[in-house]
């Protein structure tokens, strides 16, 4: 009792082959889309890898790129087979490969599903990488003369401007580190000496933030220095002032950006998986319907198509039996060899 049996005549077979061919070309474009999304994600990670300590995992984008390429190849081959399926002479050369090809397709679909799952799960390691990387990024903000770190200031400034965020959790993170390079501090000035002497690490700490934290929507010119000192500015109360600097922390901003990107990619991969399953089923129908022609010489004869030759349970038990017999076959071989060894 085959699974989902359908009767086919010539017209239906032709229609099926044409539809599945069309769907295969759609699937090739979907493969190209997955490839380009992987590439885009990789580029986005690379752009900001300085802020993640160059420690970020490129596993997911690489997997996406690979899956996109494999999808293109498999679907192009499948489309070619469909195109040839209407011509019996051409189809004959593809027939022996079809069963293996369908197995490969099923495996590929499972792999696609795993990729989609990874897209949703890899958000968690990314969160930790971002937290660590941003903390170090802020620490190295002032090191514009240290080779290898001289662009950290620019990267961090541009990121705070673009993502509209300030600091790691919020703007007070800037109060806890020295973000002005020692080259621009006048160590003979009393004020500077006082500040450096006032803390254990000898750092020049201020209640100020870099200019990139400023919010352009604020109605007053940006207040970035002496932020907690209400008397330093006219009509200023730092407890109620909300529009002056960005309130959000950069870890939250970047995580929501990358999280959204990964969610979208994951959703896309799920849709591509569904398309791939559909074309695999279509190809299976084509294969089975062309194998069961009532009269092989007459192309207009009727035939049947199915997804599985027997029911799910029977197919499963068949596979288990095959695996057992393969295991027994190796045991018999070993036994035979041992007997031969003992005899001689």
């Amino acid at each position: 009792m085959a699974l989902m049996l359908i009767k086919f005549d010539m017209k239906k077979r032709v229609k099926l082959a044409q539809t599945v061919w069309f769907m295969y070309w759609f699937a090739v474009m979907a493969g190209v889309l997955v490839f380009s999304m992987g590439l885009f994600f990789k580029i986005e990670l690379r752009k900001r890898s300085e802020l993640m300590d160059n420690n970020e995992s490129h596993f997911l984008p690489n997997l996406l790129i690979l899956m996109g390429l494999v999808a293109c190849g498999i679907n192009a081959f499948g489309g070619k087979v469909c195109y040839d399926s209407l011509d019996p002479s051409k189809f004959v050369k593809w027939k022996p490969m079809l069963k293996c090809f369908l197995m490969v397709c099923v495996g590929f679909n499972a792999l696609l599903l795993v990729t989609a799952l990874l897209c949703f799960l890899m958000r968690i390691p990314l969160q930790f990488t971002l937290a660590e990387g941003l903390k170090n990024g802020m620490k190295y903000y002032k090191d514009t003369d240290t080779p290898g770190r001289c662009y950290m200031k620019r990267t961090l400034d541009l990121m705070q401007i673009e993502f509209r965020c300030c600091g790691n959790d919020n703007f007070r993170d800037w109060f806890e580190i020295q973000w002005v390079s020692n080259r621009y501090l006048d160590f003979s000035a009393k004020e500077v000496k006082d500040r450096i002497g006032s803390n254990v690490d000898g750092q020049y700490l201020m209640d100020g933030v870099p200019f990139s934290c400023c919010n352009p929507s604020s109605p007053r010119p940006c207040i970035q220095l002496q932020m907690t000192n209400n008397s330093a500015y006219y009509s200023y109360d730092h407890y109620t002032e909300e529009l002056n600097v960005w309130k959000r922390g950069c870890r939250d901003s970047m995580l929501s950006y990358y999280g959204g990107l990964m969610n979208t990619i994951g959703l896309l991969v799920v849709l591509v998986t569904m398309l791939e399953v559909a074309v695999t089923i279509g190809l299976q129908y084509i294969d089975s319907s062309l194998s069961t022609l009532v009269n092989p010489e007459d192309p207009e004869s009727e035939s049947e198509g199915w997804i599985l030759e027997k029911t799910v349970k029977e197919t499963f038990t068949d596979i288990m039996d095959k695996m057992k017999s393969m295991g027994k076959g190796s045991k018999v071989d070993e036994g035979g060899e041992a007997a031969v060894a003992t005899v001689s």
Binding site: Y184, P216, P219, P221
Partner: protein, 342 residues
């Protein structure tokens, strides 16, 4: 003596029709491209219209949108004619329309040429509008409480950040306007009173710039206040400091952005004109080849195709003669009318 005659047999005609059909579809895609470029240009102008006093001319993008739509329509029609030209029955219904269609294509090409010229010439208008608009924008930077101008600060800040520029000509433009709102100035403070009284118009002028002028690539934290006072900052010389704030003026930055956009659009339009001319030539050859078949019943017979039936000079002379006869007919009719009145 026809102008550039070519002999055609059936195969050549079929090849010409097919090739021309493909070129027409390419032209439709180019038409869509022109339309979308027109929309993009319009959106960019709208985005920055606050910088231009809402005074900018939308002539070029509107013309581009119109031309793009016309191109799509004309080329789609041409493609349909080509597709039908191989079937004598279908072609018969298009035959009478072809001469006016070719004249329409000529007119369309002239319109394209005008648009390309405008793309290059309107850049001067954009420059002048930008200069005036930016000057006013800087003046209204502080008016964040005036309805209609409350977003000028934000727009100008975002523009300076995005285009990496400061002020109109350079950053010193900010020294000449008051860019802090009076709401945030303590008028009872002596320092503030001194500054306000020190100039004729009673403005609070400073040698400072807004934060959006800061260059993130500078190795030291941004110096935006007391820019001309070397002793206010450690190890600072304002004459040699180059990386602190953006040195380019926003008028130059914005103008180079719009000018490069308009130049590329102009170049694309010129390429479109060439493509359209090729289309017209091909269509003319196709129609003449189909008209001059020696034996209309036999599709495989030979035929001639040409661009102009007579030479260029003769065609031109004919046109002038036609125009003159049109003028003369009017005069005769008027004379006839006046006679009948009498």
């Amino acid at each position: 003596m026809p102008f550039m005659p070519v002999k055609f047999n059936l195969q050549k005609r079929v090849k010409l029709a097919q090739g021309l059909w493909m070129i027409y579809w390419l032209s439709v895609i180019v038409g869509i491209l022109l339309f979308s470029l027109g929309i993009f240009f319009k959106i960019e102008l709208r985005k920055r219209s606050e910088m231009m006093d809402n005074n900018e001319s939308h002539l070029v993008p509107n013309l581009l949108i119109l031309v793009g739509l016309l191109a799509c329509g004309v080329n789609a029609f041409g493609g349909k004619v080509c597709h039908d030209s191989l079937d004598p029955i279908k072609f018969a219904k298009w035959k009478p329309m072809l001469k006016p269609f070719l004249l329409l294509c000529c007119g369309f090409n002239a319109l394209l040429l005008l648009t390309a010229l405008l793309c290059f010439l309107m850049q001067f208008a954009v420059y002048l509008t930008l200069a005036e608009g930016l000057k006013n924008s800087i003046k209204f930077y502080k008016d964040t409480d005036t309805p209609g101008r409350c977003f000028m600060k934000r727009t100008l800040d975002l523009t300076q950040i995005e285009f990496r520029c400061c002020g109109n000509n350079n950053f010193r433009d900010w020294f000449e306007v008051q860019w802090i709102s009076n709401r945030y100035l303590d008028m009872s403070n002596d320092l503030v009173k001194d500054r306000v009284l020190s100039n004729v118009e009673g403005k609070y002028l400073m040698d400072s710039v807004p934060f959006s002028c800061c260059n993130p690539g500078s190795p030291r934290p941004c110096i935006q206040h007391h820019l001309t006072n070397n002793s206010a900052h450690y190890d600072y010389d304002h004459r040699i400091e180059e990386l602190n704030i953006w040195t380019r003026g926003c008028r130059e930055a914005l103008f180079s952005y719009f000018s490069s956009m308009m130049t590329s659009i102009g170049v694309l339009i010129i390429a479109t004109i060439i493509l359209e001319s090729v289309d017209m030539a091909g269509l003319k050859y196709l129609t003449t080849a189909l008209e001059t078949m020696e034996d209309p019943e036999n599709p495989e017979c030979e035929s001639d195709g040409w661009l102009l039936e007579k030479g260029v000079k003769e065609t031109f002379g004919d046109l002038l003669a036609k125009l003159k006869t049109l003028g003369k007919t009017n005069q005769v009719v008027e004379g006839g009318d006046s006679v009948s009145i009498l």
